[in-house]
C-alpha cells in the first residue's frame, strides 16, 4: 500500500460535549464505557466500605441485617455488571480497532446503543434502592426460592428490577459481542493473519465468544425467574413441581464462563505489556494465543463446580472436578509464557508494569486456592465461607482490576494524548497492592476456620482477621484517590504524549496520539510480521521507518 497522505491530519479538538451524547466513534464510546464504569466502581466500592465497616466488629451494629443483605447483593451486582464488564468493553472499543488497523467497529450504531443501555440499566438498579422493600437481597446469583419471594407484594420490587437490569445487561453485552467478533474476523489490516494478531485481540475474541454462547442461557433462565416472581409460574417453585436447581444450572452455565470473560482480556493485557516492559518478544506466542480458546472450550464445561453442595449426582461432581482442574493447564501455559518473557529481560518498572507484576502475583495465589476449591471434599467443607470470597476477590481485584489499571496507565497516553504522572501512579500501585492483600488474605484463614459469608455478625473468635481485612479495605478505599487525581490532572494538563511513549510495537503505536477519528483511514499499513518483535529489529509493517519519521516530524511541528 502507499502512504501518500500519512499521517492523517490530527482531528481538531472536539470538546467534552460528545462524551455525553450518542456518538458512534469507538474511541469515544470506549471512554464513555470506562468513565461510566468507574462511576459505578465508586458506588460499589462505597458499599464495600459499608460491608467492611459492619464487619469490623462481631456484632451487627452498623446496618440492619436486612439492609446488609441488600448491600452485599448490590455490591456484587454493581461490581460485575456495571463495573467490570463495561470497563472491559471500553478497553475493547479503544484497543480492538486500533490494534487491527480498522477505522471503527463493524456496527458503529449498534455499538453506541450497547453502550447507552449501560446507564439505563444502571439507573434501574440504582432506583431499586428507593422502592418499597428495598433492593434485591438474594445475593448476586439470585437463587430461588429466595429470589422468587415478593413479600411487599408490589409489581415493581427490588428483585424484579434486579432481574430486568441483568437481562438488559445481557442484551447490551450480546450487542457488544456481535460487534467485537465481527470486527476482529472481518476488519483486520492487510497482512494481519490470525497468527499475526496481538494477543489482546485473541483473548477478546475468546472472551466475546464465551459471551455469545453463555449469556443467552442466563437470559433464558432470568426470563423464567421473572415469570415465577411476577406471574406466578412455577418453573423453579418446588411446591408447583418446579426445580430450583434448574436455575442454578442456567445461572452458572453463563456465570462461570463469565469469569473467563473477565480474566481472558486481562491475560491479553499481561501478554501485551510484559514484552513492552521487558524488551523481549512474548514467549510462546502461538501457545498463548491458542490457550485462550482451550480455556473457552473447557470453561464451558465446568459450571457444576459451583453446585457441588447443591445435591448434584456424584458422577457429575467427579466429572466437573476433573474438567475444572484441567483448566489449570492452559492457564499454566500462559503463566509460564509470561515468566519466560520476563526471564532475562531488561525490566522497566513503570506504573503499568508494576500493576502487571502485582496482578500476576495475585493471580498465581488465586490459582492455588482455585485448585483447592475444585477439589470436591475441600469445596464442600469451605463452600459459602469467606474462603470463597477471598479466592474470587484475589482473582477479580488482585488480578483483573490490577490488570485493568495497568492497561489504563499504558494506553492513556495513546487515547488521551497526555502522559499520566508516574509518582501518583506508583503510589496508587503501592496502596492497591498492599490494600488488596491485607483485605483479601485474611479471608482465607477466616473461611478455613468456618466463618460463613453473607452474615453481618459473627463469633468473636473471628475478630482479629476481620479487623485486619477491614483495615486493608479502607486502604483500598484510599487507593482510589491518587488514581482519580492522576487521571483528572493528566487529562487536563498532563505533558503531551508522543505517538509511542513506551517504545512499544503495535499498529496502535503507529498512529498519532490521540488517533484521528477514523484511525488509519484508507491507508492501513500492510502488516509483515508477528507482533512483539522486540529486540529483533524486524519491522512490523511495510514502510515502518517512513511512518515513524513522518510521525516524529508531525510531533516536532506541533
Amino acid at each position: 500500500m502507499t502512504i501518500a497522505t500519512f499521517p492523517p491530519e490530527p482531528t481538531p479538538e472536539q470538546g467534552w460535549g460528545r462524551y455525553f451524547g450518542f456518538c458512534t466513534d469507538a474511541k469515544v464510546i470506549g471512554i464513555q464505557y470506562i468513565v461510566t464504569a468507574f462511576f459505578f466502581f465508586l458506588i460499589g466500592g462505597l458499599l464495600a466500605m459499608v460491608i467492611r465497616g459492619e464487619l469490623i466488629t462481631p456484632a451487627s451494629d452498623l446496618v440492619d441485617r436486612a439492609v446488609y443483605n441488600g448491600i452485599y447483593t448490590m455490591h456484587g451486582t454493581i461490581m460485575l455488571f456495571l463495573f467490570i464488564f463495561p470497563v472491559l468493553n471500553g478497553l475493547n472499543n479503544l484497543l480492538i480497532p486500533t490494534m487491527i488497523g480498522a477505522p471503527d467497529m463493524a456496527f458503529p450504531r449498534l455499538n453506541a446503543v450497547a453502550f447507552w443501555l449501560v446507564p439505563i440499566f444502571g439507573f434501574l438498579l440504582m432506583a431499586s434502592f428507593f422502592v418499597p422493600g428495598g433492593p434485591a437481597y438474594s445475593g448476586w446469583w439470585s437463587y430461588p426460592p429466595v429470589s422468587i419471594q415478593n413479600p411487599v407484594g408490589h409489581l415493581i420490587n427490588g428483585q424484579g428490577m434486579w432481574i430486568t437490569a441483568v437481562a438488559l445487561s445481557g442484551v447490551s453485552s450480546i450487542m457488544g459481542a456481535i460487534n467485537f467478533v465481527t470486527t476482529i474476523l472481518r476488519m483486520r489490516a492487510p497482512g494481519m493473519t490470525l497468527f499475526r494478531m496481538p494477543v489482546f485481540c485473541w483473548t477478546a475474541l475468546a472472551a466475546q465468544s464465551l459471551q455469545l454462547i453463555g449469556l443467552p442461557a442466563l437470559t433464558g433462565g432470568a426470563i423464567m425467574l421473572l415469570m415465577d416472581l411476577t406471574f406466578g409460574t412455577s418453573f423453579y417453585r418446588p411446591e408447583g413441581g418446579g426445580d430450583p436447581v434448574l436455575y442454578q444450572h442456567f445461572f452458572w452455565f453463563y456465570s462461570h464462563p463469565a469469569v473467563y470473560v473477565i480474566i481472558l482480556p486481562v491475560f491479553g493485557i499481561f501478554s501485551e505489556l510484559f514484552p513492552v516492559y521487558s524488551r523481549k518478544p512474548l514467549f510462546g506466542y502461538v501457545y498463548v494465543a491458542l490457550a485462550s480458546f482451550i480455556i473457552v472450550g473447557l470453561g464451558l464445561i465446568v459450571w457444576v463446580h459451583h453446585m457441588f453442595p447443591s445435591g448434584v449426582a456424584q458422577w457429575m461432581r467427579n466429572l466437573f472436578m476433573v474438567t475444572t482442574m484441567l483448566i489449570a493447564v492452559p492457564t499454566g501455559v500462559k503463566v509460564f509464557a509470561w515468566l519466560g518473557t520476563l526471564w532475562g529481560g531488561k525490566l522497566r518498572l513503570t506504573t503499568p508494569m508494576l500493576f502487571c507484576l502485582g496482578g500476576l502475583f495475585n493471580f498465581v495465589f488465586a490459582g492455588i486456592t482455585g485448585i483447592m476449591l475444585a477439589t470436591v471434599p475441600v469445596d464442600i467443607h469451605v463452600s459459602n465461607t469467606y474462603f470463597v470470597v477471598g479466592h474470587f476477590h484475589y482473582v477479580i481485584y488482585g488480578a483483573a482490576v490490577m490488570g485493568i489499571f495497568a492497561a489504563i496507565y499504558h494506553w492513556f497516553p495513546k487515547f488521551i494524548g497526555r502522559m499520566p504522572y508516574e509518582g501518583l501512579g506508583k503510589l496508587h500501585f503501592l496502596l492497591t497492592f498492599i490494600g488488596a492483600n491485607l483485605n483479601f488474605l485474611p479471608m482465607h484463614p477466616l473461611g478455613l476456620t468456618g466463618m460463613p459469608r453473607r452474615v453481618s455478625s459473627y463469633d468473636p473468635e473471628f475478630t482479629f482477621w476481620n479487623v485486619v481485612a477491614s483495615l486493608g479495605a479502607f486502604l483500598l478505599g484510599v487507593s482510589i484517590i491518587p488514581f482519580l487525581l492522576n487521571m483528572l490532572s493528566a487529562w487536563i494538563r498532563g505533558p503531551k504524549a508522543t505517538h509511542n511513549p513506551w517504545n512499544a510495537i503495535g499498529l496502535e503505536w503507529l498512529l498519532p496520539s490521540p488517533p484521528p477519528e477514523d484511525n488509519f483511514g484508507e491507508e492501513v499499513p500492510t502488516v509483515i510480521s508477528r507482533p512483539y518483535g522486540y529486540g529483533s529489529g524486524q519491522p512490523l509493517v511495510e514502510h515502518q521507518d517512513e511512518i515513524e519519521r513522518r510521525l516524529a516530524l508531525q510531533e516536532a511541528a506541533a
Binding site: 456496527f107 460487534n179 465481527t182 472481518r186 489490516a189 423464567m224 415469570m227 413441581g241 418446579g242 452455565f253
Partner: protein
Amino acid sequence: MTTTTLQQPGAPAEHEEHPKHNLTGFIIFLCSESVIFLAFFSGYALLKTSALNWLPNGVEGLEWRMPLINTIVLVSSSGTIALAEHFKNRENMALFRGFWLMSMAMGAYFLYGQAVEWSGLQFGFTSGTFGGTFYLLTGFHGLHVATGILLMGLMLIKSFIPGNYKGGEQGVQATSLFWHFVDVIWIILFLLIYVWQ
C-alpha cells in the same frame, strides 16, 4: 493496492467498496439466539423427566393434528422463501415478491393456528411446570415468527425503493436465514412437545 481497509488478508482489493458485515453479524446473532432455545429445551426436558405428575389434573395430553398441519405449513414456507430468494438472484422481482408474500402469508397462518390452539386449551401458564413450559416455548417461538413476518414486510417495502435493489441484498439473505432458523426451532419444538408425550 490502494485504498481498501476492510480486507481479509490476502484477498484481492476492492476499490472504494467496503464489503458489508451485516450478514456476518446476523449469523453470529443467530448462533447466540439458538442458545436461549437450547436452554428452554433442556429445561423442558429436565422438568418433564423429573416430574411426578407432568400433566395438570384433567388434561389428557395435547391434540397433535392441528399443530401438525401448522408444522407442514411452516416447513413449506421455508421452501417458498428459498424460491423467492432464487428469483431475486435471477432479478425476477415479480416472482420474488409473489413467493415472498406467500411465505409471509404462511407465517401468518401459522400464528393464527397457534392462537386458535391456545384459545382451546384447558390449562393456563400457571398450571404447573407443564403449562409454564408449554406457553413459554410456543410463545417465545411465536414471537420469533412474528418478528420474521415483520422483517419480511420490511424487505418487501425496501424492494420497491428504486435503486435499493443491491443494498437490500444482505437484508433478504438475513431474513430468509432467520426464517429457516425459526423453522428448524419449530421442528425440534414439535418433536419435544407434541410427539414426545
